[in-house]
Amino acid sequence: MKKIFLVMALLIFPAAVFAASQGYLEVTAPGTRLLQLAIAPPVALAGPENSAFSKDIVDALRFDMTLAGPFNVTTSPVTEGTSGIRPGDFDFTPWKAAGADLLIKTGYSQANGNVTLECRLYDVVRSQELAAKRYSGSAKELRRMAHTFSDEIMRVTTGEKGPFTGKIAFVSTRTGNKEIYLMDYDGYNVQRVTHNGSINLNPDFSPSGRELIYTSYKKGNPDLYRRELFTGTEARISARRGINITGAWAPDGNRIALAMSKDGTSQIYVISKDGKELARLTHSNAIDVSPAWSPDGSRLAFVSDRLGKPQVFIMNADGSNVHRLTTSGAYNVSPRWSPKGDRIAYCRQMGNGFQIFTINQDGSGDTQLTTDGSNEHPRWSPDGRYITFSSRRGGADALYVMRADGTGQAMISRGKGNDSHPVWSPRW
């Protein structure tokens, strides 16, 4: 029985002081210099040192904090008189001399097969503790514990928790055909979800994070399935004649928008999570696919070639007020609305591939985020600060993460085969 005992303490008061005296926005305002964030080498609080533990802890924290945005991360150790990690147990002077603004100190100990990880974030300039947490679990869960503290660091420094404990569902051909998998957002701990030997496409998380929908050819036709991740129970919820594709879970968790061709060309419909048809939203003679809900559920973006080539359109959730969003580029597809509601990510065909753009919902501020290789399937992190996507850069299709402005691109795929269709889970 491997159970994480997430017993922790959160020292709220220093964080509140930090917020009041300095302000989150001031810390992360654009144009201000990056904060120097030092990650101290983990120390053994009790028992023997373990270099594998240290590596897991530092690697996970460094990956998270590097992607995070407001920080310039260093893991270079400084010479300290003691190895203490608690307030009063060590001296800030060498860290100040090294130019650190913030400092993460961690310590681990092992007992009865369980590892306990203690994490502390300090404001070096003020010699002040900002956050402290303690986690325990198996050694395999050390990375997860570190990600949990990363989420907390984001909360303390920016006012909103990070998405670093999230999972990414994706499609991979590593077994020879397209199956659906799940992994940590940084590519670790891959778990296979489908085993049907068929073609499986377009996973999307329910707002609870407990269920996935996807299209599968397992019974021949491209039908829509819903699967409970924790029981493995799978239900075929739309097997209507023709295609049942690009399912997108509504923010209310009860409805699903998808594209179906049962009445002619592919059109956008809304069904209940059990598959009952609730509404047909589009009535064109063209191809309409890839619906994407606004975070409040009041509108949908979708792709239509009703004017010739595929372009992104927006409509109200009842199908009214259809208008074109993208006006530049001949071929624009795969829209996804930011969970903050302000911007929509999509892909534009350029040359022999695609590039990822974001655009305001009124069509202004069209911005290209990627240039390297061919990049598709943008999906937002639940806090809207990051985007995961698939990219072909010379070799196989691999998954990446980046900040919402296109900076900080980092590959997260580690398996063989082509990985595509990533989707970032809601917070668990």
């Binding site: 491997k2 159970k3 994480i4 005992f5 997430l6 922790m8 303490a9 020292l11 608690r86 307030p87 009063g88 147990d89 303690r134 997860r144 949990t148 404990t165 397209k178 799940l182 778990q191 979800v193 085993h195 049907n196 030997g197 068929s198 073609i199 496409l201 377009n202 994070g209 407990r210 397992k218 036709n221 491209p222 991740l229 924790f230 029981t231 493995g232 799978e234 023709g242 295609i243 594709i245 690009t246 061709s261 060309t265 592919s266 191809i287 696919v289 890839s290 792709v303 070639d305 595929p310 071929y331 597809v333 795969s334 892909c347 065909q349 022999n352 695609f354 598709e376 595509s420 668990w428």
Partner: protein, 189 residues
Amino acid sequence: MKRHVAGGFLVAGCMMLVAGGCAKEQVVNKDEGLAPTAAVAPAAPAKKEVVKETVQQTPVKESAVKEEAKPVSQQEELRSALEKIYFDFDSSRLTEADRAILAKDAGFMKKDAAVKVRIEGNCDERGSDEYNLALGQKRAEAARNYLVTMGVATDRLSVISYGKEKPADPGHDEAAWVKNRRDEFVVLQ
């Protein structure tokens, strides 16, 4: 100092249980529940079904008795007679050449009213995979509609789109793309 902090942890931990314990427990439960998911049973039956289909098909063919020999050979004939049709980039419009091929195909199909045909729509790799699934469907339906106007009964024709999931040529150039923008005709038992 150390003891004091440890005490603080306990107190704060208890407060968390009262204030936000729910969220934390969920994290724990979910993380734990996931492990079994990978090896869950439900997927297994699906695999069997796939196997069954192919297994069933083979015996039928092999055990065909003399009387059935004729239709089988006719099916074989039809199988080789039905030609693929090809499309322009991002188009489901039937060209003159396509129509000529479909007229011929319709003629073959009308010879044996028992035979059913599945039309498979496919695309090249350049479009988006999501849009291409819909485009492949449109291509398959374009062929079906034309065959119906040529007198083939609707219930003998089924359509499916594979988008860009099943390229005929795995290449990444125009020579491959031309071959991949196609409808294939599969004779069913």
